[in-house]
């Protein structure tokens, strides 16, 4: 009886492994089919038809990991554009998962850098810089209304946070946005609780300074 159970378990494990390997193989083949044999514009059109590479989730993960406060939809479009532009360079190595993660991270950082430099169209910070409320992303305006803040001031606060060091942004996100315990946040960030607290404090000061410059609604 015990040996039958062990055999079943072993068979189940084998099937699970085979399924996982099959799914990974299918993922690899799907990614290669989507990325190959076309111009960047054509690859982009493929990527925009229903998010076949799961870029939305990858962008959300990258924004969370970098603790950047950007218009996530624009970040998704930029990440799709990055994948499309560099698809002709992709020769199957590294594995699609790693390659896509690297492209998404590059796209998100590029967008943050452009915002810092004041390049581009309707970035969260750009509109704040030129004082054009109409150019702000809709989700930011909705959030500002809920928080009873001036949208431009909130945009300035986001830009100020994005200009902070990564460790400061991560500490701010963990302690202020996610309301996590200081010890847990410090462990995840890989720092001490006191340094995590100080880093969050610097980010809060930067955000408050930007909010005060704009004034509350």
């Amino acid at each position: 009886m015990a040996s039958t159970s062990r055999a079943l378990e072993s068979e189940s494990t084998r099937l699970e492994h085979a399924q996982r390997a099959g799914a990974a193989d299918l993922g690899r083949r799907t990614a290669r089919a989507l990325l190959s044999g076309a111009t960047p514009r054509e690859v982009l059109a493929r990527l925009m038809a229903g998010d076949p590479l799961g870029l939305r989730a990858r962008v959300a993960a990258a924004l969370a990991n970098e603790a950047l406060f950007l218009d996530s939809d624009r970040a998704l479009l930029r990440a799709s554009a990055h994948v499309a532009r560099f698809a002709p360079r992709y020769r199957g190595q590294p594995e699609p998962e790693a390659w896509l993660a690297a492209r998404v991270l590059a796209a998100v950082r590029e967008l943050a850098d452009e915002e810092h430099e004041g390049v581009g169209r309707e970035g969260v910070g750009q509109a704040a810089g030129v004082g054009q409320e109409a150019a702000l992303p809709a989700p930011l305006c909705e959030l500002a209304a809920k928080l009873k803040l001036d949208p431009l001031a909130l945009a300035r606060a986001c830009a100020a946070l994005n200009a902070c060091e990564r460790v400061e942004r991560r500490a701010f996100r963990a302690l202020v946005i996610e309301a996590r315990e200081l010890d847990v946040a410090a462990r995840d960030i890989g720092s001490t609780p006191s340094e995590t607290g100080r880093a969050a404090r610097r980010a809060i000061d930067a955000a408050l300074g930007a909010l005060e410059r704009g004034g509350a609604a």
Binding site: P40, M48, R74, R78, R85, E110, D113, V119
Partner: protein
């Protein structure tokens, strides 16, 4: 049989044409067409931005090689040439033109020996014009410094230091600024900057 079918459908098709049904379907977002088209247009705008950033980065890299002149290794040159070929091919495939000056510079970089390339200052200026960022500004400041225009190079460093992207970026710009101010003989200022 097809003709019969066409005859039967003709009045119905004419009626639909009068209603401009296809336009209504697009407007109603049925089939997702109405949503997809503007979204794809926004994605294309982002693709153009990525193309521009890549051309700017390539021109900055070329400016740095142009500064080094004789010192450049054959592998470095062939690597950059391969990148330039790819950049030009992608622009062409996507039907994107970034101006006559950029096209001429890229063509020259692809075909000419390094000694006949546009000068580093020209390449870096084009790079900054396309995308003013840390890479392009650093290339421009280095090109100016190489011509002995220390004050212009220092001005770029000072502007970058007024809004550094990170502590690491601040350190890099501060190091450059101090080097160029030293060349201008501003030793006291350098000492103040280093101690600040």
């Amino acid at each position: 049989m097809l003709r019969e079918l066409a005859r039967e459908l003709a009045p119905e098709l004419r009626r639909l044409a009068k209603l401009e049904a296809h336009r209504e379907i697009v407007r109603s977002d049925l089939l997702g067409v109405g949503v997809h088209a503007p979204r794809l247009a926004r994605a294309h705008a982002e693709l153009v931005a990525v193309h521009i950033a890549e051309v700017s980065l390539t021109l900055s890299a070329a400016a740095r090689l142009a500064l080094r002149g004789q010192d450049v290794q054959a592998e470095e040159l062939s690597e950059l040439r391969a990148r330039i070929d790819e950049v030009r091919r992608m622009l062409e495939l996507d039907g994107l033109a970034l101006g006559a000056e950029v096209a001429a510079a890229l063509a020259s970089l692809a075909r000419q020996p390094l000694a006949q390339w546009p000068c580093a200052l020209e390449l870096a200026s084009l790079s900054v014009a396309l995308r003013p960022n840390a890479h392009s500004r650093a290339a421009l400041a280095a090109a100016l410094a190489a011509r002995g225009e220390w004050r212009s190079a220092a001005a770029i460093a000072l502007a970058a230091l007024s809004r550094p992207r990170s502590a690491a970026a601040r350190r890099r710009w501060l190091g450059r600024l101090c080097r160029w101010l030293e060349r201008l003989g501003e030793h006291e200022r350098v000492a103040r900057l280093r101690s600040a």
